[in-house]
Symmetry: C2
Subunit: 110 residues, 2 copies
């Protein structure tokens, strides 16, 4: 069963151009890592001047927590996040173990 | 070519429960209208306490503006929006002809 997941985070105004540049040319191996963890059809959207990023992906595996834990351990993914995290501004309401904040899906139409 | 589109809007705290109830049981004919206009894989996500709605859909037709103009003219869609619009809080930065605010896609991985 496909799990459709949405997450939101802020972006620093000073980080927008760099963030866009990085994501226009992502590292092939970090993208491959996502695929290997059953994450697909992954888009990130930006809204200015509110400076919000929204991400949407579809998880097609059977244990998201387990797969995402593996992604977190990937050195290349960690190196990518070392570049992108300083550009972002997590929501004040996020939980201690969150970076992006999860959203609740309230509607779906095939 | 599939066009992946993201949009954002606020929701009034007082409107959240009603909005969720409506979208848990959407009108079949308004959902059908979307399909007829080549809009599919449509999710809406909610984030509280920021009270943001994010919508994601995939447009598979050849002229989104034309298709969406037809949807806007649908009496049933208008009746649905009469129910949902008072629950929402458009962004202050939106353009005069916008309700939901469009976002820019900055990343995609298949």
């Amino acid at each position: 069963m496909t799990l459709r997941m949405g997450r939101v985070i802020g972006i620093k105004p000073s980080g927008i151009e760099r963030y866009k540049d990085l994501h226009a040319n992502p590292w092939p191996d970090t993208v491959e890592e996502l695929k290997n963890r059953n994450i697909q059809n992954f888009s990130i959207f930006l809204r200015a001047p509110e400076n919000l990023l929204f991400s949407y992906w579809e998880y097609t595996g059977s244990n998201f927590e387990e797969d995402f834990a593996k992604t977190k351990e990937s050195p290349r993914t960690q190196a990518w996040w070392d570049l992108t995290a300083p550009l972002q501004q997590p929501l004040a309401s996020r939980k201690a173990d969150e970076w992006w904040s999860p959203m609740e899906r309230v509607f779906f139409a095939e």
